[in-house]
Subunit: 439 residues, 2 copies
């Protein structure tokens, strides 16, 4: 019988995250304080983030950051996630490529987002924080944070992008089951939201607007800190547990990836699965390709410009040196809500600038074609975000079919799409459309 | 670090199912042909079921039925499912009991139902069947069968109980993603459906009515066989993979269950987790208690009568010796659609009659209370069906708290509730009500 799934024993679950910032060939430009335009410091970041995360954000010296025992203990409730050989997908494509995926959808909340939510909630709690706030798009991050906050006895307030709030109402229900307060964004509950709604009462929201509202709430509320699900280096750091596990699991399988593929919103899951493998490229030991997959309608990596820009619509966050479509860019209403973000994180942007990774655009219909093919072959209905990685993997697998190459392809299945069935309904009934990028 | 999850290596996944029919102290009365009232035979059963399943149904001699290599191969895509120590729930309850659950929700389609769907679809394919049909309540079974049929290249037609079809529309979408044709039942597409709708045009459906329609379609369609998700012995047989795995996993944990708890609709998941442990009771080696948990509004085990009755509303199925509320009984519209069934299988009914197991009733609100408590403690939102087992487990755990007893409790988490968030919404908004049993 062919082995399909690789698990690590609990003792083998990594004890430290990999901090790529200590290893990069080119160190990213500093983030700048939005008011003073001076490089941010741990102190200035700590005004909105908890102190430990602020320190991690600016740590350029330690390659390995120990995972607190309490967080690792919580990880073992769902980690290791399986590394799966996708024999069903290979057969459906008739490709000689060996396709693997890291199945983060088995996390109790259904996505990789819990890896960082547990860490951020733990640090907040340790520092005496009583309330956390955040933004969420499709809701994967908001769900993870809601559960993690509840675990540590904190209240959570989540601003969910309005279009996703309406597209996937049951995400709200999930967050509410975990005891969170959920507000569609933009809302009238913050200055940033009011300003946006004054200009456009029908504004559908974006991650940029929801971040503004959450940051503002954190600043105005005693005992409250802001947490976020992507873009920042400390979030990518926590997500490296994915790639570190995969590395060990590939040893069990006796293979090593030629191509690592992940969907791309702010960069957290891409970083998580790619960075640990990337370090062997830095060392000159491997020549793995790394492919970030973004929606064609929100293509900051392939069509954006590299410049200092804000992480949010209102300009509350530090200025970040990044590939961006502009912080006022309003993404089309695609169903991959987690990818509707105008910018990439500073680290990923620098890696892209240095030619150490690649990016591709995927249209909405191609991504859903891939998602349904995958569901029929492997039984798992993927999140609309993840379908972008699947589509890119299929492109690579078909290239391997043409050349007869037995390359090893690895993609990250970030989450399941069970909260996104309305999107699949639209796809099946032929009502789903492509969106071109418009500046 | 405390170990929380126990997995079996692929080599340890059972190679045979346990056939309790070869071991029971009292052999169940025979099922009777609905027309001749003679005991059913493999030939008569084969008119609606595939031949292999018909043979398994009437096998009272072989304790172990080998799992075909092709089915075991598919099992390894998601099995073993983890046996999980529910430390979070124990802590929330403050109980000295050791609570474990078998997490069947990690199956790709989200429930234990795939264990039998794969087997039934495989046998049908091997016998040259081109189309399969079935009933489904909440949709867990229909989803599993849709995926399994697709895997083996067959078409699937699913009759879904109308009230569930409307309560959880995204279940339909899941089945459609897997390529199935889904019809709300009762429908005008069958004689049975027409007869029901003629009497009551607003009939909300029940598993009994949906079975009638599916059986009729199978009888009328060349190359088509009927498959079902519960009640029959061959379905229970396939589900014993759950308990057989759990037995090995408990060895890894160094414990053994004092109480085994499962929700109860037709009996498939209860049988699956209980029967393998029950055989040690038969041997006099153990005194494990087995608790079937049914909805208070559909209490065939605690308030039904033991008699010959049909498995469906129209009277197409064999007469089964069982605890029943009557095959015309119309269950209340509770959200645990998988438990809205009037009867119990012949084997379970005989075990109940012989005092070898117990049954309890759980009201809808108590079950959702338990589900939300579990979600907050363990991060997994359970299916409304599973919440009945959780509620009963909590009752046992609180008894242990009173007596200071460190009993080992095992319950079956049959599936997740991510397709049931509308039910949780109703619960959270206070709109969910209890239903009393009315004859």
């Amino acid at each position: 019988m062919k082995q399909k799934r690789y698990f690590l024993p609990e003792s083998e679950i990594p004890t430290a995250w990999y901090n790529i910032q200590a290893d990069m060939p080119t160190r990213p430009l500093p983030m700048l304080d939005p008011v003073t335009r001076e490089p941010v410091t741990v102190d200035s970041l700590s005004e909105i983030f908890c102190r430990e995360c602020s320190e991690q954000e600016l740590n350029f010296s330690d390659r390995w950051i120990p995972i607190p025992e309490e967080v690792r203990e919580m990880y073992t409730y769902y980690r290791s996630t399986p590394l799966v050989r996708a024999y069903g997908l290979e057969k459906a494509l008739g490709t000689p490529a060996h396709i693997y995926f890291k199945n983060e959808s088995v996390s109790p909340v259904g996505s990789h987002k819990l890896n960082s939510a547990l860490a951020q909630a733990y640090y907040c709690k340790r520092e005496g924080v009583t309330n956390v706030t955040t933004e969420t798009g499709a809701g994967q991050w908001g769900t993870a944070l809601s559960y993690a906050a509840k675990l540590y006895g904190m209240d959570a307030a989540v601003y969910q992008v309005k279009v996703s709030y309406e597209q996937k109402p049951y995400r709200r229900s999930m967050m509410q089951v975990f005891g969170a307060q959920v507000t569609p964004s933009p809302s009238m509950s913050t200055r940033a939201g009011k300003d946006i709604l004054t200009v456009n009462p029908n504004h559908q929201g974006s991650l940029g607007t929801a971040i503004s509202e959450a940051v503002e709430l954190a600043r105005m509320t005693p005992g409250c800190k802001y947490t976020l699900g992507s873009t920042m280096s400390h979030v990518s750091l926590h997500q490296t547990i994915i790639g570190l596990e995969a590395e060990k699991q590939f040893e069990m399988a006796g293979e090593y990836p030629d191509v690592v593929i992940a969907c791309f919103g702010g960069g957290s899951n891409f970083s998580g699965i790619a960075f640990p493998f990337m370090r062997h490229n830095f060392e000159g030991k491997t020549k793995t390709r790394f492919v970030a997959c973004e929606p064609a309608s929100c293509p900051k990596m392939t069509q954006g410009t590299f410049e200092y820009d804000f992480g949010d619509e209102a300009g509350y966050t530090p200025l970040i040196p990044m590939y961006t479509l502009g912080h006022k860019f309003m993404p089309a209403n695609i169903h991959a809500g987690g990818l509707r973000y105008h910018g990439a994180g500073a680290v990923v942007s620098q890696l892209m600038k240095d030619g150490l990774m690649e990016a591709v655009d995927i249209q909405q219909l191609e991504s859903f074609d891939a998602g349904v093919l995958f569901a029929k072959a492997e039984g798992i209905i993927p999140a609309p975000e993840s379908t972008h990685a699947i589509a890119a993997t299929i492109r690579e697998a078909m290239r391997c079919k043409e050349t007869g190459s037995e390359e090893v392809l690895l993609f990250n299945l970030t989450g399941h799409g069970l909260m996104d069935m309305a999107s699949y309904d639209k796809y099946l009934s032929g009502d789903l459309v492509n969106f071109e990028y418009k500046k």
